[in-house]
Each structure stands twice: as C-alpha cells, then as structure tokens.
C-alpha cells in the first residue's frame, strides 16, 4: 500500500483540497483588502466630492492637529525615557513577580479605552484616589493637556514596552558580554551595543505606540474632557464636528488617515531595512 502512495486517490484528493484551501485563502485576503479599503476610499471620495478640503484648514482642525502632534510628542518622549529602561529590565532581569508585571502591562491593551478613562478619572480626577491629594497642593489634572498625555501614555505604553522588551530579549547576551570584556561600562554597553541591536524593535514599537496615542479617544474624552486647543485632539474634534458639520468631520478623518498612512509606511520601510541588514 505505502509503495503506491503517489497513486493513492486520497493523496490526489488531499492535493485537490490544498489547491482549494489556498484559493479560498486568496479569496479571503482579497475580501479583507476590499473591506479595509472601501471605507478609506469613501472618505476620500466624499472629501473630493463635497470639497471638504477647506475644512482641513479650519481653526478647529488646525488646533486639533497641533494638539495631537504636541500631546503625542510628549507621550513619546516620556515613553522612550521611562519605557526603554523598564522594557530592558522586563526582558533581562528575572525577578520575583515579573510574570505578574508582564500581565499587568498588557492590561491597557485589552481594556476598552473608555473604561481606562473612567479608571483614570477615579484616580486623578479632583475627587480621585490620588487627585484629591494633588488638589490639596493646587494641582488639578482634569480638563488640562496633561490629562490628555496621561490618557495617551496609559493606552500606548504597553505597545512600546512590549515590543521593546521583545527586541532587548532577542539581543545576544554574548555580544553584550564581549563588549564588557572589551572594557565598555554599563551605560556605554547599553547605548553602543544593546540599543543599536534592538533598534528595529524599538522603532517599530515606538511607532505603534505613537499611532495608538494619536487615535486615543475614549480615555481622553472621559478623563480630560473636550476643549479646543487644550484637550480636543483630532479624534475628539471628529466627534464634536460630527455633531454639527459632517464635512468637517470627514476632512478631519482624512487628515488623520493621511497621518496614520505615513506611520504605517515608515514602519514598513524600517522593518524591511532592518531585515535586509540582518540577511
């Protein structure tokens, strides 16, 4: 029986089902591509059709874009400064409770942002667990740009820390140790050896986190509120405009779409380059 496997009808059947399976997979891929591009095309078509371009230069749109750029930049600065060492510890040090910390860090990813907003409000709001003490010192976070940054850090941090930790974990310890033998200090070794080797992962993680911070909506509107130029980032401005002027909401959506597209292209480019370097 086994000698004649090639002519076995069941093998032929299996080969047939393979073709069918790959055909189906291609069809699903096409379906997915169409499903994702259709809404994007609709946005652009509407913008062109109704001349909604002009709304992109409206004060609301400009303020929202500037605020989004400002808050996401602050978020990223804090994330890179604090998240990078945190990710390194997470990747390299096996301490007691590291698994708990690992799980904890992923929670904001699965938590709906609106729930995160409520949680932040109850922590840092004026009567919140921490906020009531801040309030004693005259610090109120609600309705400030700082609240927007806090919300963005909360939802975006896991994306950076997770990818950075994976990147650090993939760096060969032998290379690091060789640098130590060559007389490099801890700092020098970290910045000259470890970071460059993990750079593709750090950059990719940073860009994902940035995109996530840029899209942050639920936590911001609940925790920070919505006010032009102070807490109204692009996603919040889209909702506010949707309530009064659909064209303006569409224009803002196209604006943020262009931005997201640029981020994805950058990630693609960097990933392609880093894999090219390794080969």
């Amino acid at each position: 029986m086994k000698g004649h496997a090639k002519d076995d009808p069941s093998t032929r059947l299996a080969r047939g089902s393979d073709t069918l399976a790959s055909g189906l997979a291609v069809a699903f891929l096409a379906l997915l591509a169409g499903f994702i591009s259709l809404p994007l095309i609709s946005l652009v078509v509407w913008t062109v059709d109704k001349g909604a371009w002009r709304a992109m230069a409206s004060p609301v749109a400009v303020d929202a874009l500037l605020l989004s750029v400002k808050t996401t930049a602050m978020t990223m600065a804090i994330l890179l400064l604090a998240g990078t060492p945190a990710a390194y510890v997470l990747a390299r040090v096996d301490f007691r409770g590291s698994r708990v910390i690992n799980t904890l860090i992923d929670i904001p990813v699965v938590l709906p942002p609106s729930a995160a907003g409520i949680a932040l409000l109850l922590s840092f709001g004026r009567l919140g667990l921490v906020g009531q003490y801040l309030n004693v010192f005259g610090i109120t976070l609600s309705f400030t740009t700082a609240a927007v940054v806090i919300a963005e850090i909360f939802v975006a941090a896991p994306f950076y820390v997770r990818q950075a930790a994976t990147g650090f974990g993939a760096v060969d310890r032998a290379v690091e140790e060789a640098a130590m033998v060559d007389g490099a200090g801890h700092w020098r070794r970290f910045f000259r050896v470890t970071v460059p080797l993990a750079l593709p992962a750090l950059v990719a993680g940073a860009l994902t986190a940035w995109a996530r911070a840029l899209g942050e909506f639920g936590a911001t509107i609940i925790f920070a509120g919505s006010f032009r130029g102070v807490t109204q980032t692009i996603p919040l401005a889209i909702l506010a405009e949707f309530q009064r002027d659909l064209d303006a909401a569409v224009a803002l959506s196209v604006l943020v779409l262009g931005f997201a597209f640029a981020v994805i292209l950058a990630v693609r480019y960097l990933t392609a380059r880093s894999t090219g370097d390794r080969a």
């Binding site: 189906l24 004026r126 009567l127 309530q243 659909l246």
Partner: protein, 286 residues
Amino acid sequence: MSAEGEGISGHRRVRLYLFAAMLVSGVTLAGIVGCGGVSGREAGDGGRPQGGTLTVLAASSLIDAFGVLANRFEEQNPGVKVRQSFESSSTLLAQIQQGAPADVFASAAEEEMNTAVEDGLVKGEPEVFVKNREIVMVPKNNPANIRRFEDVAKPDVKLVLAGKDVPAADYALQILGEAKGEYGAGFEKEVLSNVVSRESDVRASVNRVVVGDADATFGYASDYTPDIRDKVKVVQIPPDFNIVATYPIAALKDAKSPGLAKKWVEMVTSEEGQRVLQKWNFESAA
C-alpha cells in the same frame, strides 16, 4: 516577532493556520449574516399589530423617563421590543440624516426637528410633548461657592458645557446673552472664559459635576434626577431670562414599524405618558 521553527513541519503549520483563519472567517461571516437576519425579521414584523421592534432615538435628557415608558409600552404591547438610543439631538439628527434605521425621533429642541422636517425625514407634523427649564448644577460641596446664578462668572470657576449645537448648551448661551442686561456687558464673556470642557451631550456634562471635577454646568431641570440628588445642588436661573426648552416628537418617514411609532407618540402625549415625564421634572406641554 521571532521566526524560529520554520523548518519544523512548516507545511503542516501553514495548513493549521489556514484552517484557523477559515474557521474565524466562517464564524465572523455567520455572525454578520445572523445580525442581518435579525433586522430583516424586525422589518417583516413591523406591519403586524403584535410583536416587532420599535426603535426610538431620543435626546439624552429623556433617558430616564423614556426608559420607564419603554417598559410600560412593552407591557401594553406584548411581544414588542423597544430599542432606544439616547444622544444629543444634534447627533441623532446627523444619524437620521445618514440613514440610521429608526421609527421615532424625540428632540430636545425645535431646531433639530425643523431640520429633519425640511429634509423630508419626518412623517406628519411633529408634536411638542414636554417643556424643560434650564438650571445650573454644582457639586454638593460646592468648591467654587456658587450660590446665585451670577456666581458662574466668578474667576476660576470650572464650568462645563455640552458641545456646540447641543440644545442644552445653545440654550445656556442664549441665557447668557439675555442676562447681559442684568449683569453687564462683560458677563457673558466672563462666563464663557470659565468653560473648561465641551461635552458630547448634556448628561455627560452633568456627570462632570457628579464626579466633582467641574464646579458648575448648565443642564435641564429633568437632568436633576433622583439618583444624583445626594451629590448635586441646583442653582436656579432667574426666570426673567431663563429659557424653557420645548421638546418635539415625530414618527420618521423611513420607519420600519410605522404602527408602533404612532402608538409610541400617542403614549408619550397621553395623560399617562405626561405623568411619567412630570415625575422626571419635565413640564407638561399643554
């Protein structure tokens, strides 16, 4: 991230992934088809007197009163399900303009309803069913010490308003415009400079006061609901320049359940409906 184990029965793994992907797609598709099927059935039932689903889009200030009315409606019409969505009237109008499936629209202002009528979205004449008075609400501990209406103009009051074009906020602005005569030309500007957030609807702005982050907000008398009375205090707006909102209701032209829509409007305007609405601080329209 890692590409380990590529050689290990790669083909088999690919097939496993493929299978998983197809399973997920299949389940998703089934889910989508299932959801579509439900709405299709609703459409079919609409014509019959028994059963069916009534979809009501109502201004967010109506959430409590309409919740009670929905229960009664379902009791009185066995088999009928009432689905309600509460947003600011301007959001609801935008949704209706975009073709959201709905049977009844209850607006917190004439303006949104008029637009709906002009756009040919409404069936028949809208009916004003209640009135609602604007009030100022402050947290119980009143951190900004707002005792009278004019105190909202004091410096450093954290004032929250509903968003632009949300009726409750529009009325607040009208009131401030009117109050200039009483408190001087700078009054309106001083109050507006105290605004720290524009919320998506009036209930969201009231909740800012409930959690104690805002010092004051403008809302409707009906927003001072029993469940927030231990956290919030009311500061009355002088009747000389207060504005009384009128709420129109109408069945929609594209209603899937036109019979139920008519019944709902009748119930809301009936004596029984008015009694429920009065319980939530609405004033009868009659």
